[in-house]
């Protein structure tokens, strides 16, 4: 009886393995084939900004790339005004901030901007981008799925391995990334997308991004979840000083690998004739090891301009509680003030000089 049960179990496991192999043998090539034939999906904010920049790369000589902390903090007019007022030629700035931008996505975006900008692009400032997704839902949304394709595997691995995080966290992110990759390779929905094109109206209006050249003020957003986030932050006034204190006392992790990762990206840009900079926006979150990282990058890549606004002691004017929308973003007033600092510092650092680099 027991022998028969074990035999059944063995047969079951064998058949399941055969099923899995057959499934993979069909699903993976089919998915890759359909993926190669499909256009890039519409990715909200990212697609609109690429469209604007692709239309007129000659209009912008200085690009900021990064997460929502770039998107909601770099006011092109304010950067340009301050740079000019400091004595530099007026640059022409475009804000390429994209909310939730991971390291792998940022690597792709920088390459895409280089492709579109060709010889027009002279300066690019980028951010210490976000780690890879930590939830299955985030790893399988439309944008993330696109960035879990085979051409992004190396960038995902580099982003995970260089992130100053504990080993268990990295392992967890690797697991989620594997699930994201598996989801993409399963091919789910690919034939459906090709045969039954979506009838939903795409939010592809570029006008809001043209108005302020990619910038948006977070405290003027009307999305309910964002409004709720702002309300929650302002409802707890003690949070701000608490976060400042926590940040000042936190244990800084080893940032060597991340500094090397970001420094190499900057050097690659420099080698292709583009002046590169890395900036650290103001932040209250405790897991961002900016203070040590900024210094480490400067050491690893001396040619790179590094601007660090994450230190309250260096920029007390930016860490005024009334300027903050939530624990990671300033409102319009704060963003304008910060952008003026950025414009001034870029000018003073020689980043905007015609003959530097």
């Amino acid at each position: 009886m027991a022998d028969r049960s074990q035999g059944n179990l063995r047969t079951g496991i064998g058949l399941f393995a055969l099923f899995a192999l057959t499934f993979a043998a069909v699903a993976v090539p089919l998915s890759l084939l359909l993926r190669a034939r499909a256009p890039a999906p519409h990715m909200i904010v990212l697609s609109q900004k690429l469209e604007i920049y692709g239309e007129m790369p000659q209009a912008f000589d200085t690009i900021f790339v990064g997460t929502s902390r770039t998107y909601y903090h770099i006011v092109p007019d304010a950067v340009e005004d301050a740079a000019e007022a400091t004595g530099c030629d007026r640059p022409s700035v475009f804000n390429f901030g994209i909310f939730g931008l991971t390291g792998a996505e940022q690597s792709w975006l920088i390459a895409e901007i280089q492709r579109l900008g060709r010889d027009k692009l002279s300066r690019l400032v980028f951010e210490h981008a976000l780690p890879e997704a930590r939830t299955f839902a985030r790893a399988t949304d439309i944008r993330s799925r696109y960035f879990h394709g085979p051409e992004h595997y190396a960038a995902i691995a580099e982003n995970i391995s260089s992130m100053p995080e504990t080993a268990p966290k990295r392992l967890f992110r690797s697991g989620i990334a594997m699930l994201g990759i598996g989801y993409d390779l399963s091919g789910v929905g690919r034939a459906s997308e090709a045969l039954f094109p979506s009838l939903a109206e795409l939010d592809d209006d570029t006008a809001p991004f043209r108005r302020e050249r990619g910038f948006a003020a977070l405290d003027e957003e009307i999305a309910p979840d964002i409004i709720q986030r702002g309300k929650a932050f302002s409802a707890d006034p003690a949070a701000f000083p608490r976060l400042i204190t926590k940040r000042a006392n936190m244990d800084l992790p080893n940032t060597t690998a991340r500094a090397s990762y970001l420094g190499e990206q900057a050097d690659t840009l420099t080698n292709s004739g583009i002046r590169s900079g890395i900036w650290f926006p103001p932040n209250l979150l405790d897991e961002d090891p900016h203070r040590r990282l900024a210094a480490a990058i400067q050491e690893a890549s001396p040619a790179t301009t590094v601007l660090d606004y994450s230190r309250p002691e260096a920029y007390p004017n930016l860490f005024n509680q009334s300027l903050w929308f939530d624990d990671a973003h300033l409102g319009r007033e704060g963003a304008t003030l910060l952008s003026a600092e950025v414009g001034k510092d870029l000018c003073l650092s020689g980043f905007l000089d015609k003959d530097a680099g």
Binding site: T11, T22, G187, F196
Partner: protein, 470 residues
């Protein structure tokens, strides 16, 4: 938690493994009941209490109204009270606002004061299904078709068993309860047939219904902007969508139950191949139509008391069948169109058809076309958001006249044709039976290939099953 969701596959994998690891029948039933409550709680845990209440009521009524009950004179009143209570729960959650609003409208029309009370109640998922199962238990016990269950947990298992809990099939107590008596044996599980049936159901729901749903939504949202041809195309697509959605769900439910060792009756049998409405109802939502026949039409007198009474019984059954789907006059009209067609058919058969020789294949083909046309006219009332839209769409459907000019994508027409061919050819071929007879290795390879291809046709984002709203 939908049968096509990844989390359901994980849930089922765990439940399936644990159920077959347990040796005791009682332990298995308790596990499956607990899993069913978790399954339902994933929708809305607040209504678990309602299911338990309906279950408790059925349990008590079953004990007190069975032929073996001590007080025989009280059996019928207790059963009546039980049925009324079950229907009361259904009426409260599903029909209270409909009837108070309708009464207020009527009172306003005849000049009476029309104070109106409405309750803001959320419709519990699957309430129509489990209420009918509860009634089935009480009636089947009363009739002596099954003995009352001594254990409350057995009644709970019958009513809550997750494959059928939220959208049927409505499994009769007399069909299911005897299966609880002994532990199911793995050797009796038709694994390959169940997997094929699940895959077919999955393809119907996720690959067909969900892909065409946006086109249907478009036509039914702005019917006035579409040409007559496009509108008819949209209505035909809805016929495909609801069939694939509901029969797909039923297929998956039957397959899941089979994998756990339980047999559910067939719920669909290629309904669009029916040459008349009577046959259509023998092939469409069979568990509901037979339930209505056995628990409503026959107790009303069926066809035993003359033609006039038969017609009244038929129309009553179909109108209530329509109302079962939802509290709206559209559903009543939908039922009325089917009831009217059944009465006309029976009269036609009696007065005309019997006097002529059957027309053979041609006659059957004409019958199928006419039946499909009528069924889809009724679908307009089933799907349209309100009565005025339904009437406007029905007018276009019947007259082929529309002021609208918008068209559906041209690919819709070959798609409808292809699906019609699959429907017509797939049924007599009995493809699922043939596949189930493949050797284990060939079958596994087929399943791997078919699953990979099917997954590619699953649109991103989940759509709930249409029948969950009922």
């Amino acid at each position: 938690m939908l049968f096509v969701e990844l989390r359901f596959f994980l849930f089922f994998g765990i439940v399936f493994s644990l159920a077959w690891l347990l040796r005791s029948n009682n332990a298995r039933k308790l596990l499956l009941t607990g899993a069913s409550y978790i399954f339902y709680g994933a929708w809305d845990w607040r209504f678990l209490g309602l299911i338990l209440l309906v279950t408790l009521m059925s349990y008590i009524v079953g004990l007190a109204s069975s032929p073996s009950a001590k007080r025989a004179d009280r059996r019928k009143p207790i059963l009546t009270a039980g049925i009324l209570m079950a229907l009361g729960v259904l009426a409260l959650f599903k029909y209270f606002n409909f009837f108070t609003e309708s009464f207020a409208d009527f009172a306003g029309l005849v000049g009476l004061p029309s104070g109106q009370i409405t309750l803001s109640l959320v419709l519990p998922v699957g309430i129509s299904f489990y209420t009918f199962q509860a009634i089935s238990y009480m009636v089947d016990v009363y009739r002596g078709q099954i003995a009352p269950r001594e254990k409350f947990s057995d009644v709970a298992f019958y009513i809550a068993f997750f494959p059928q809990l939220v959208a049927g099939p409505i499994v009769r107590a007399s069909h299911f309860v005897p299966q609880m008596e002994t532990a199911r044996r793995w050797a009796d599980v038709p694994v390959r047939a169940a997997l094929v049936l699940f895959l077919i159901g999955f393809i119907k729901k996720a690959c067909v219904s969900d892909n065409i749903a946006p086109y249907v939504d478009l036509v039914f949202e702005t019917p006035e902007s579409f040409s007559a041809l496009a509108l008819i195309g949209g209505v035909l697509l809805y016929g495909v969508q609801i069939y694939c959605d509901f029969s797909g769900y039923s297929d998956m439910a039957i397959a899941l139950a089979a994998l756990l060792g339980y047999h559910f009756p067939k719920n669909f049998d290629a309904p669009y191949l029916s040459p008349d409405i009577q046959e259509f109802w023998r092939r469409w939502h069979i568990s509901l139509s037979t339930w209505l026949r056995d628990y409503l039409y026959i107790p009303l007198g069926g066809n035993r008391r003359g033609n006039m009474r038969r017609d009244v019984n038929l129309m009553t059954t179909m109108l209530l069948g329509g109302l079962w789907h939802g509290a709206s006059f559209n559903f009543v009209i939908w039922g009325g169109l089917h009831g009217g067609a059944l009465i006309v058919e029976r009269t036609w058969n009696k007065l005309v058809a019997q006097k002529f020789k059957p027309m053979g294949v041609l006659g059957r083909a004409i019958g199928i076309v006419v039946t499909v046309y009528w069924v889809h006219l009724a679908w307009i009332f089933f799907r349209a958001p309100n009565l005025s839209d339904s009437l406007a769409m029905a007018k276009t459907y019947l007259t082929f006249q529309s002021a609208g000019t918008e068209q559906l994508p041209i690919a819709v027409w070959p798609l409808i044709f292809l699906l019609a061919v699959v429907h017509a050819v797939g049924h007599p071929m009995q493809a699922n039976d043939r596949l189930a007879k493949l050797s284990p290795v060939s079958f596994t390879v087929f399943l791997g290939v078919a699953s990979a291809v099917a997954l590619s046709f699953v649109p991103l984002g989940y759509r709930p099953f249409i029948y969950f709203q009922f």
